[in-house]
């Protein structure tokens, strides 16, 4: 029976119609392509009217196949599948041709674009005729969620879910949750004390009956699919038994070994070999740093063990593994701070009084290494003048082309704190002042009024080589003042570098582990930059916070909550549809050669000894199709991507070549010697 194909060409406003002769294309398809019974064009096929057009034709004209020439299937395949299903046509009997992404947006000649569109439509029509009815299966959604990263974003996501009554496993790499926000003193523009707003949320997490907090832990491996992921978590050995530890802190007090705290105190302060990153740490259990601890280095000491009132110290503790079943994953892995030594002209690490933004942040913090005093590297001298350098590693083609989004506001905050704490003259060297949120511009105005000096221009160099009177013993900031149109040398006591936010050093490995992708810069890629910012291309894996791109605390919190809402929707619905794109082995053709067995990355293919054939476990198969391509007997078929479908698509795409070169005629196979 001949199929009845309906072809629908979308104008997409002028997005497609501006470069492709859409009316002509529809007429051509109707007149020239075999089996096409209806061919129409419409302003917006994805609109409800456009969808109704298709639905009506399916019902009235008895269409058995549908081709939609519109945007990328990644955008609207679901929309049009649903329209087909509404009209009673199996959704897998629909094929899209990406006229917008692959033609109109990338072409510059209307005739050429229209010719290419004919080929794509022809390919889709030939392919759709070979497509078969498929039925998506339903799988239950495990109501547990894995949240990776315990910064403010992960905390928010975990609390939203737990408060709704769903269980959350929160995995944090560091000994305590809190993330970068726990290191800050004040938050812009309200100057809320960071700890005052964060620590209650942290203890909520620690005490929540629906949250299993796994700190000092990392995700080793993730398998499974949406609704049914299995995650293997490595809990690193704390050397402290969590069940016995009361968090009294005697061990920390008695530990004789001090080491520089490079992580939480940004290298400005010390911690003990057994430590909590900060007093309000959640969980409260300390960790022994085995690389610093005297016992692990020399075999003696054990002061902590001697003084521990509950015998919670366990020097022999090993890493342990936890296997979790979860339905969804939220990644909130945050960012790394730019290492300012990569810009040697700014002197960080070479000139003592050049500080990183994180160092300055810790210095301002009342619980920090200087008890909240802003002082020079000697630890006592109060600076009389401070230069804040913006865009260190950001908006710089040699390092990161993007804007880190938070540094302008953080610099204004630093300006305010420095003026308040020291009365120093503060200079800001900026490229553009970016203050785009609620009450941010007002904060900038406030700093102007407070007397912070703003110099527009990138800093060329920070040096201690005095050349002019008044520069002796100072750091000289050499910059261009693009508003005054001249070079400036500004002698100051202290320089603060506003380093960029960078993707985690291991972001690409993390992305690979969870089956998502990264942008060129290394930020995780969202499903849609405008309309689906927290979902990813992998169903059931969501992203939130800075791991998706630089953003400030309110935006991170909003994304954490948004990701939690998406997960809740999945849990509430209870089931997910699993795409029926899997491979099937036809036993009658299988010779039992087992070539496919080792090709499958998911071990979905097993050899049935009794029958002498191989078998695909559909639940494990992800539909990549490698086994289909490899089977020498063509005994394996790949649903929705079968050989016949691809061959027909090639034929359709090359319709103009075939009629031109006579290749449409069958090549005589007997011409090939046996």
């Amino acid at each position: 029976m001949a199929e009845k194909v309906g072809v629908y060409i979308c104008h997409c406003g002028s997005n497609i119609a501006g470069m492709v002769d859409v009316e002509g294309l529809a007429r051509w398809a109707g007149a020239n392509l075999e089996d096409v019974t209806v061919a129409r064009d419409y302003k917006f096929m994805c609109s409800s009217l456009g969808q109704e057009l298709i639905e009506e034709d399916i019902k009235k004209e008895g269409l058995t196949r549908v081709v939609v020439g519109a945007c990328s299937p990644h955008l609207h395949e679901k929309t049009f599948r649903k329209a087909c299903a509404n009209a009673g046509l199996n959704p897998y009997l629909m094929q899209m041709a990406s006229l917008r992404e692959q033609i109109s947006w990338v072409s510059s000649d209307k005739d050429e674009a229209t010719e290419k569109a004919k080929a794509l439509i022809s390919g889709a029509v030939r392919r759709v005729i070979e497509q078969e009815e498929l039925f998506a299966s339903e799988a239950p959604v495990n109501p547990n969620t894995l949240v990776v990263g315990g910064g403010v974003t992960g905390i928010q996501a975990a609390l939203e879910l737990a408060d709704a009554g769903y269980h959350v496993y929160l995995v944090e790499r560091e000994p305590s949750i809190g993330g970068h926000m726990a290191q800050f003193d004040k938050t812009f523009p309200t100057l809320d004390c960071s700890a005052c707003i964060l620590t209650p949320k942290m203890s909520d997490v620690g005490q929540h009956e629906s949250i299993t907090l796994l700190s000092y832990a990392e995700v080793e491996e993730v398998t499974g699919y949406v609704g049914n992921f299995h995650a293997r978590i490595r809990k690193r050995a704390r050397s402290v038994k969590e069940a016995d530890c009361t968090g009294c802190g005697v061990c920390i007090e008695k530990c004789p070994k001090k080491v520089i705290d490079d992580v939480f105190e940004a290298g400005l302060g010390y911690r003990k070999a057994i430590y909590r990153p900060f007093p309000q740490a959640v969980p409260k259990y300390p960790v022994i740093d085995r690389e610093a601890c005297t016992y692990y280095l020399k075999g003696t000491c054990k002061a902590c063990e001697k003084f521990c009132p509950t015998n919670a110290i366990d020097f022999e503790q090993q890493d342990s593994f936890l296997d979790l079943d979860v339905g969804n994953v939220i990644l909130a892995t945050g960012f790394d701070m730019f290492d300012s030594t990569r810009l040697p002209q700014y002197g960080y690490g070479r000139l003592a009084n050049v500080f990183s933004n994180l160092e300055f942040e810790r210095m301002c913090n009342a619980a920090g290494p200087t008890d909240g005093k802003v002082v020079l590297r000697d630890g006592v001298t109060t600076p009389e003048s401070i230069a804040i350098v913006h865009c260190v590693g950001s908006r710089d083609k040699k390092h990161n082309p993007y804007c880190s989004a938070v540094c302008c506001m953080a610099a204004l905050k630093f300006g305010h704190l420095a003026i308040e704490k020291t009365g120093a003259q503060v200079y800001s060297f900026y490229i553009d002042m970016r203050t785009p949120h609620k009450n941010y511009e007002e904060f900038y105005d406030r700093l102007l009024a407070e007397g912070m000096q703003f110099v527009r221009g990138r800093v060329a160099e920070v040096t201690d080589a005095a050349r002019l009177p008044g520069e002796e013993g100072k750091l000289i900031v050499q910059s261009e003042d693009t508003l005054a149109g001249r070079q400036r040398r500004t002698p100051v006591d202290m320089v603060v570098l506003m380093g960029a936010l960078e993707p985690r050093h291991d972001a690409r490995e993390t992305a690979l582990k969870f089956g998502i992708s990264c942008s060129m810069n290394g930020w995780f890629t969202e499903r849609h930059p405008k309309l689906d910012p927290v979902a990813t291309m992998t169903d059931g894996v969501f992203i939130a916070g800075v791991c998706q791109g630089p953003k400030d605390i309110p935006d991170s919190v909003a994304q954490g909550a948004a990701a939690a809402a998406r997960v809740m929707a999945m849990i509430t619905k209870g089931t997910v549809l699993i795409e029926p794109v899997v491979a099937t082995i036809h036993e009658e053709n299988c010779s039992g050669c087992r070539i496919c067995n080792n090709l499958c990355p998911y071990n979905a293919i097993t050899f049935l000894e009794d029958k002498g054939v191989s078998y695909v476990n559909a639940a494990l198969c992800k539909g990549c199709g490698t086994c289909v391509a490899a089977c020498p007997a063509q005994a394996i078929s790949g649903a929705h991507f079968s050989n016949e479908q691809i061959f027909s698509e090639i034929e359709g795409l090359l319709y103009d070549a075939i009629s031109g070169n006579g290749a449409g005629h069958k090549v005589e196979p007997a011409g090939v010697p046996a």
């Binding site: 990328s72 990644h74 990406s98 692959q102 990264c518 990355p601 990549c624 289909v628 090359l654 046996a674």
Partner: protein, 164 residues
């Protein structure tokens, strides 16, 4: 279309990286030449060498296989299988007298719209310089190809003769 030869290139793009790179090239309005016609496959590992041969036999002047970068395959490692097949196929096609530039293996991540567009343009330029393939039209006359195919069939048969 002008009188100069305009090659037809069929490109097999993996759903996760390269097809998204093509989407990105579109949304970023990166212009490239219209000679390429894209087929979506779930993975570059799905590309059966016969797809490529079929495309050539039906009049394609060049074929591109594009997938995720090594180590970044959505299906763990199937792009390596695509790579193996590509080298095998290139060997086969070479022995049949086909120029290397007509078959290209391209890695393109979802973020590499610019790179994919550049690769497509480069390939079109190379194939344009080679001229039309006319594989099927030349099939019967071109005895060399038939001979080569015969030799390959022989080689292959010998290679398969492994003691059980």
């Amino acid at each position: 279309m002008s009188d100069t030869f305009e090659p037809k290139i069929v490109a097999f793009l993996c759903n996760w990286c390269s097809y998204r790179a093509a989407d990105l090239a579109g949304t970023s309005r990166i212009k490239y030449e219209p000679n390429v016609r894209i087929i979506r496959v779930m993975c570059s590992g799905r590309v059966d060498p016969t797809f490529v041969l079929k495309a050539f036999s039906l009049g394609a002047d060049g074929v591109m296989i594009a997938g995720c970068h090594p180590g970044e395959c959505h299906y763990l490692e199937q792009n390596y299988k695509a790579m193996r097949r590509y080298y095998m196929l290139r060997h086969t096609l070479r022995s049949m007298g086909m120029e290397d530039d007509r078959l290209r293996l391209q890695w393109a991540s979802a973020a590499e719209g610019v790179q994919l567009a550049a690769a497509i343009n480069e390939m079109i330029e190379q194939v344009r310089a080679l001229g039309p393939l006319n594989w099927s039209a030349n099939w019967h006359e071109n005895g060399r190809r038939l001979e080569a195919l015969g030799r390959l069939a022989q080689e292959h048969a010998e290679a398969m003769e492994v003691p059980a």
